[in-house]
Structures are given as C-alpha cells and as structure tokens.
C-alpha cells in the first residue's frame, strides 16, 4: 500500500505539470483564457479581466462592473438596463445602468430598492422586481424614469423562503399574468434533506407551497398564495425562465437534483452522480407536472427514472403522470438564465432560439466542474430544431478555473435590448457584458 502511495505521489506530480504545460500551450495558441494575454489586444481589454469567446462576428464589451451579486436583468425600450442584486450594494437592490453617450458602456449608474433578490422584468410601463419573499413593481413615466423609486407597489407577498432555492425568478405573459418560481427548499424531499438513508416523503408536502411556478395577476396588490394559482408543479427549482412569444407559453429550466452517489453510494458511482440527472427545459401549461421529487430525467436512457428516495435503483422508470422535457442538457450546469431571442440583429439561426445561461456546477466532484457559459439551442416551429452549443464562454477565466470551480465570473442573467444585442450578468463580481453582432 505504501508503495502505491509513493507511486501515486509521482504520478500526480507528473500529471499536474503536464496539465499546466498543456494549459500554457493552449493559452498561447488560442490567445484566450489568460490574464497575461488579455492586455495585448483591444477587444480582449474591453472584456475586463477575462476574454469572452464568441462565434465569429459577435463581440462582447463590459457595460458595467463591480455590482456584486448581479442576478437577472431587464432592458427598457430606451436601452436602460436594470439589474437585480442578490446582496444590497450601498443599500440598493436594483441598479439602473444608462449609456448616455452611446459608447457601449454605462456612465449614468443609479441605485434604488432596499431589498435583495433575483427576479426583474419590464412589462406595460412597469418594472417588476422580486425579493426572496415578495414581488414589487415600479411605475415608469413617459421619459422612462421610475416615478417613485422609494415607493414600489407590493404585488405579491408572503412567499416561502427557507434558504435553499429561495430565489424568486419572475416572468410575465401578454395577458396580464405574472409567473413566480417558488423553489423547493430541499434536494429530493427526504424527511431529512440531503441525509444518507432518509426516505422520500410521499406525498411530498413541499409541493403544496413550493416546488413549482405560481401564477398571479400582474396588476393586483398584496396577493399571496390564496390569490395565486399553482400553475405548474414538480419543479425542484427554476431560476431561468422566459415567456416564449412564438408559442405563447412559459418555458423554464429546472435545476436537477444533486448527490445521487453521496446519498446512494451502492446504486450510483461518483461518475454517474456527476452526469445525472439532466438539466431539463420544460414547456409549461396550466396544470403541468414535471415529476420532482419522485422522478428524474436520465438523458442517456431518455427516460424518467424513479428517484432512489422512492425505491428507484437507477433503472426503474416511473412518472407516467409527469411530462417529458423539451430538451435535456448535461447535469448540474445550473441554468440561471433563459432568453428566447426575438431580435433581428443576430444571424437567422438565432431567431426564436433559446439562450441558456449556465451558472456552473459545484457537484460534479471528483469529475471536473462544468458550465460557466451561455449556451444556445435553436428552435423552429416552437420546438428545438437541433442540438445545443456553447455560445459565450471564458467567463470562468480558463479551463483550470472551470474544472476547479474557482472561477472569476459566474454568468447568471440574460436579457435582450431593443437594438437586438443581449446583456449577460455575473453574480460573482457583478460584471455586465453587452454582446452584439457586427458580422466582422
């Protein structure tokens, strides 16, 4: 055994030097992912401390930075960008970023809103924003200014927030409805959360007040559970969601369950635990059930699998009452942003397609971590029309940062501007990038 140890020592040493050597080579040839090379070119400099890699013809510039935990974004018709912060900065939970001289950077930056949170959206002359328990709205005037930044109207109140999956992401439809994610305060609805040997509760009592999307009226004050409708259930946690105007329906990205190996080491290897279950995209309608916590979706078997907490063994299928995902992405990438691109400035293949912002994994260990990127999924006739690909990458700072999870930026929110560009936020340092297409 001792000999094995010493051999291991040597092997690890050799492997590490090899890895770092490879890293250096890659950096030099691609000219990306390294702080030392970012100073060499103007376009790299404008990306801040990392180089954002994009398809040909696209460009990213830092619109604003240093905002801290910048979560979701909304862009007004005049181009003002509103950012929701998960942690107050100088007492403010919302920042308005305005580019006054058209140079692609925000010069006029002002904060308001004394509540932290994730959700933000603009609809019919109002700015909506959420804390982890409430949703507020602010009226915008004819000059696109907030009428009274100190006095928002409380639209929804009293939503559950138990620390886990507490972010209340929001979306609005064109019929006066507001959709709010109420995440399950649990991994898999065990009697004791994330504890080995603890069984799944059946029925899962969490689903009465969380683990789904609730629908409220967009213009009625002080609503709570009794005023809303549980629009969709069986969703563990949703952060990325968007109203798809092409299908006139709500699309969501679920954060799939964690720790299959930790909790069931006899049924799942660490590799299976890293690769399962899929991060799923669902199209929702009133009454939709996506199956959590009883099932998860296995993207290799293309089946809904009975969760081990409910007697599953990794093979038994279940969930005949639960709908299938529209699309299945790799596990644990943490989809925090979703945008259906309705603009005209990107090439044709992007029209009505979905951008998904992957916040990045923590639970693929001992496999390398993944994510920290913006993905694109093409759509035609309201359905995915091809496979997904990475659209914007490099937020982490490089392959080693991605693998270790010790990253420079964690992309989170995404929104489209009236000029057809998109903005992406980062909740690690609070950088906001503007991504445009010039074709050059």
């Amino acid at each position: 055994m001792k000999q094995v140890h010493y051999f291991a020592q040597l092997a690890v040493g050799a492997l590490l030097s090899l890895l770092s050597a490879c890293g250096n080579t890659n950096t030099k040839t691609s000219g990306a992912d390294s702080a030392s090379t970012t100073k060499d070119t103007a376009s790299a400099e404008s990306n801040g401390d990392v180089t954002i890699k994009l398809p040909e013809g696209f460009h990213a510039v830092v619109f604003a930075d240093g905002l801290g935990k910048a979560r979701h974004l909304a862009v007004n018709s005049n181009g003002d960008v509103y950012v929701k912060l998960e942690k107050l900065k100088n007492g403010n939970g919302i920042y308005r970023l305005r580019d006054t001289n058209g140079d692609g950077r925000a010069e006029d930056i002002s904060g308001f809103g004394n509540f932290a949170g994730t959700g933000i959206a603009i609809k019919n002359g109002y700015l909506y924003a959420s804390s982890d328990e409430e949703v507020f709205r602010y009226k915008l005037d004819a000059n696109n200014n907030i009428v009274d930044p100190g006095k928002p109207e409380k639209i929804v109140t009293g939503l559950l927030a138990h620390g886990e999956h507490e972010a209340k992401a929001i979306a609005l439809d064109n019929d006066g409805n507001l959709y709010v994610n109420i995440g399950a305060y649990s991994n898999a609805c065990q009697v004791k959360d994330r504890s080995i040997g603890s069984p799944g509760m059946k029925p899962c009592p969490i689903l009465d007040s969380a683990g789904g999307i609730w629908q409220f009226k967009a213009d009625k004050a002080d609503q709570t559970y009794k005023d809303g409708v549980r629009y969709a259930t069986g969703l563990r946690n949703v952060v990325g969601l968007d109203w798809n105007t092409a299908t006139n329906s709500l699309f969501v990205m679920q954060h799939g369950r964690d720790q299959l190996h930790d909790l069931f080491p006899d049924l799942y290897t660490t590799k299976q635990s890293a690769e399962l279950p899929a991060e799923c995209m669902y199209e929702l309608h009133k009454g939709s059930n996506c199956g959590w916590p009883y099932i998860y979706y296995d993207q290799f078997l293309h089946k809904k699998i009975l969760a081990p907490e409910y007697g599953g063994n990794g093979k038994k299928t279940a969930g005949n009452d639960a709908q299938d995902p529209v699309y299945a992405f790799p596990a644990h990438l943490a989809p925090n942003g979703l945008l259906f691109y309705t603009g005209n400035k990107f090439p044709e293949k992007y029209k009505n397609g979905a951008f998904i912002v992957f916040h990045g994994s923590w639970n693929r260990s001992p496999e390398p971590q993944m994510g920290f990127e913006v993905a694109f999924l093409p759509f035609a006739n309201g359905k995915p029309s091809g496979e997904w690909s990475v659209f914007a990458d490099g937020f982490s700072g490089g392959p080693q940062e991605t693998a270790s999870g010790q990253v420079k930026h964690r992309p989170c929110g995404i929104a489209m501007a009236p000029d057809g560009s998109v903005y992406v936020s980062d909740d690690e340092k609070g950088t906001i990038w503007k991504i445009s297409y010039t074709g050059k």
Binding site: N363, S365, R410
Partner: protein, 140 residues
C-alpha cells in the same frame, strides 16, 4: 475500491507537506490525517471539493476558514447537527444545507477535522477522539 484509489491519487498532494515531517509526535498526527482523508472523501468531498475550496455562495471554503481552524466544540456541533441553508459566514450567504452526520463516530469526526485542519494549506492543532467525545457530550 478502484474509485477510492483514484480519489486518493487526486487527494494525495494535500498531504505531501505532512509526509515530509518526521518524528514520533508526528506519527499519531499522520495516522489521524490518513484516516481523516478517507472520511473526507466519503462525507465531505462532494460539497467542499478536492482542494477544500467549496463554491462561493453555495458551500463554504475550508481553506483558512476561521471556524475550521478554531475551537473543537462548534466544529463538532456543525458536523453532528449540520448547518441550515442560507447560513451567513463573514457576510457571505451559503445556499446549500449541510446534512447532519450523527452517525459519525467520535474517531471519524476527530480524524476528519484533523485532516481539514492540516490540509489545504491549513495548519491547526490535531483534534483527538477524547476531545470530540467531551465536546459531543455538551451538545443538545
């Protein structure tokens, strides 16, 4: 076993520094760290990660972590009773709950704490089985 070995290969650099220290006083420490390494792999690694760094805003880092390097009693409390989701540490909120581990023995707790306190660039005194036993008796 094969998986365990692979993991040990990966984790080994963390204990390289300690291997170079010698002398009778180091014997017990090294044994405890080796046992603690195995406990860490099984119970801690998936959240706190191979290099102890955790993930910002999700699971706290154990590197130069004041609590991890501090008094025994709060540490035993955290392991046995877990920590709720949303706990704030040094102004940063962590969104994942830490599961309680009442099934762990006093020796396992002592070993894993000693491993963490002497790995990942940390350097704090060893915690013994007897110290865990006494700290555990005070919990309720």
């Amino acid at each position: 076993m094969k998986q365990l070995l692979t993991l040990m290969l990966i984790l080994f650099p963390a204990s390289l520094l300690l291997m170079s220290q010698t002398g009778p006083a180091q014997g017990k420490l090294k044994e405890s760290i080796d046992r603690g390494n195995m406990v860490y792999i099984q119970r801690c690694l998936s959240c706190h990660l191979i290099n102890g760094t955790g993930i910002s805003g999700v699971n706290p880092s154990l590197v130069h972590n004041k609590t991890a390097l501090g008094a025994t009693e709060p540490l035993v409390n955290i392991i046995v009773k877990g920590m709720p989701a949303g706990t704030e540490i040094d102004g940063v909120r962590y969104n994942n709950a830490m599961a309680p581990a009442p099934d762990m023995t006093d020796l396992q707790i002592a070993d894993v704490l000693t491993y963490v306190r002497n790995g990942f660039g940390n350097n704090a005194k060893m915690i013994t089985e007897a110290e865990v036993k006494s700290a555990r008796a005070k919990l309720k």
